[in-house]
Amino acid sequence: MDLSPSGLSLPSPSRRSLLRGAGGAALLAGAGIPLLSACGSSSSGSDSKTVSVGSNDSDAVPKKAYAAVYDAFKKQSGITVDVNTKDHNTFQEQINSYLQGTPDDVFKWFAGYRMQFFAKKGLASPIDDVWDKIGGNFPDAMKKLSKGEDGKYYFVPMTTYPWAVFYRKSVFQAKGYQVPTTWDELVALCKKMKKDGLVPIAFGDKDAWPAMGTFDQINFRLNGYDFHVELMAGKAAWTDAKVKAVFDHWAELLPYHQDGFMGRTWQDAAQTLVSKKAGMYLLGTFVAQQFTNKADLDDLDFFAFPEINSAYGQDTVEAPTDGFMVSKAGKGKAGMVKLMEYLGTPGAEELYLKGDPSVVAASSKASTASYTPLQKKAFEMISNAKSLTQFMDRDSRPDFTSTVMQPSLQKFLQNPKGVDSLLASIERQKKTIFAS
């Protein structure tokens, strides 16, 4: 080939400069790694005048309400709270890697098994010293929820809300319905509502978790709190006749649930209660968010899930509790201790509730003066409870509830007759998950 020198060498400068660029980029990428990690560690190694808080309060209402709490804390102690807010679901999904990496000193989390799991893994720090000061502010049920398996405190509860059966006062009045207190009364009421052309129980299970709430209620009413806890902890067998009885009760109630629930979200199901097409709805108090009209909201009321077994009555309340934990990074920091002590005071809770009236205070000392009637009722229900549960996915291993229980309960709802083989399958899968 007859190549002129220019023809041969002309492309070379451009190729070389390109390569130089590529090499530079590679060097930059290489240098970027230590740079990034430096960024990460600098935030946790800050002075005693700031405390960082990892938060999942991405919704506008709780975010603003917490900002007010942190401002008040700064005024009182002179310590700045540096909040890192992440999307609620993302925070939850990334919690493992977040806590292992360079977490904030304090992070928002849930009480119960999900808290104990991280305590056991050494990803959270015990805060017994904080509880020496704030212990008097909380009822015993809350104290129980805040302890790890080792008996040490790991959690400061902040807010809570109950699960209950919601209904419209005006509908019950117009049709002369009575609040049912026993299972038989509940079934009779469902029958009556159906005859009156109402959907007896609104229901939507598209997101797969609402069904877990129904299971929890029937289980601890029928088999008691202790059995429920054992079952959730993987100790009791799902093939136990007691569990079968739960599903039998549920199957009895299923024909009174709203049709087409597999494709319906809880928001849409709540709308049938708003429009008075449904008589009752078993959900958390957050259902009130769907009642945007003041008159409708005032008409909303709830009652505790009826008694099934007189040995247990209505002694258990499902009350998911949110609060704060200390990561391994926050261990022993003076600012952290001060913040946690502050968050455990009734004052901090009252301040928060001013901004977010959809929940109630975890502390029994917090003032209830500004509560709405719904909040007051919720607060009483929780304070009078003998035992508190969190929710199936907070009381048990999240991998078990999300990969086994959610699909299994949906399967039951589709085909209530195949309970035996379903329970055998749950038990087999449970054994392998809890063994790992």
Binding site: S12, R20, A22, N96, K206, M262, G263, P398, Q414
Partner: protein, 326 residues
């Protein structure tokens, strides 16, 4: 001027004075002389950086997930990785009620995509290739679903299928108690409902691929067959379609990939609830989230990998062998 200066200082190279002489001198000395130290370093970079990236991002991760498939790991600290041998696979094949339905649904997904939207796409491409009026408008309209993210597609169709307020149930009056058609939740319906959405998108994709293929068909072939007295269908069947063979290969591979990686649409639609379980969704459900079952999820990922390889490799080998012979 020596050969060295031309290669080491590129700025001097374009000088016309160097002429053809140095080249003649250089050629017999062989390749060694062409590469200076700097050349070799840059070359090493050029080959090295992509190699390192490829190995780290493709091979190390793939092999790591194959290794993890034989372990049990909750994702917290490397010391909690436990070797469990074939346990994950045993559980998967015998105890997991979602696994076999998921495999079945992935297969149904592929069969439906190849039987309905692919011929549809070919049909549309042939029509648009005739240079009908507003062809650009149709082209854009049919291709638009492909441009839209699958997550958005899932969201839109979910609104159409909503049992209470959705378009379909409202139109046919199936949103009253006792008459519900639960498109999203009913396990006998939801896979087909979501496949309608997937086909809606896949048709546009196939149309563009075939349209590109048809543009490459030599017009003289059509002329020749017209001269031979073939009608439109005969021309298409005997002349045009056979020349589309390379396109068909691409279409088949793309469809297999689409069927195996099906995820976003269903995840948005109903999170892979009963009736729409898919392998990709099982993997995500097991790996992502708190206290994840990384070993178990990796085992499902390995199954998916094996299926992909088993389908793609023989096909590609056969195709390339045929093409080499041709």
């Amino acid at each position: 001027m020596s050969a060295d200066t031309t290669t080491t200082s590129p700025e001097a190279a374009p000088q016309p004075s160097s002429g053809p002489a140095p080249v003649k001198e250089r050629v017999p000395r062989g390749h060694k002389r062409l590469l200076t130290r700097r050349d070799r370093i840059t070359l090493a970079f050029m080959a090295g950086v992509p190699t390192v990236l490829h190995v780290a991002l493709v091979w190390v991760t793939a092999i790591a997930s194959i290794f993890l498939a034989f372990t049990s790991w909750d994702g917290i600290g490397f010391d909690s990785i436990k070797w469990v041998g074939l346990d994950n696979f045993k559980q998967l094949f015998s105890d997991n009620p979602q696994f076999w339905p998921a495999v079945e649904h992935n297969i149904i997904w592929f069969v439906v995509l190849i039987l309905i939207p692919t011929p549809m796409g070919l049909f549309l491409a042939v029509q648009l290739d005739k240079k009908i009026r507003f062809s650009r408008v149709y082209q854009t309209a049919y291709f638009l679903p492909v441009v839209v993210s699958l997550a958005v597609t899932g969201f839109v169709w979910q609104l159409v299928y909503n049992p209470d307020t959705g378009l379909i149930n409202s139109l046919i009056g199936a949103n009253k108690p006792g008459h519900y058609i639960d498109w999203i939740g009913d396990p006998h319906l939801n896979l087909w409902a979501v496949l309608v959405a997937a086909s809606w998108r896949h048709t546009g994709y196939m149309m563009i691929l075939y349209l590109a293929g048809l543009k490459g068909v030599d017009p003289s072939l059509r002329e020749a067959s017209a001269l031979d007295g073939a009608n439109e269908w005969q021309t298409f069947k005997n002349v045009i379609f056979p020349t589309l063979r390379p396109t068909n290969t691409v279409v088949l591979v793309v469809t297999i990939i689409e069927a195996l990686r099906a995820f976003d649409l269903v995840f948005v639609f109903n999170k892979g609830a009963q009736g729409t379980e898919l392998l990709s969704i099982l993997i995500t459900n097991n790996i992502i989230g708190e206290s994840s079952r990384i070993g178990y999820g990796s085992a499902i990922a390995v199954v998916l990998l094996v299926i992909s390889l088993a389908v793609i490799i023989p096909y590609l080998i056969a195709t390339f062998r045929k093409e080499r012979r041709a």
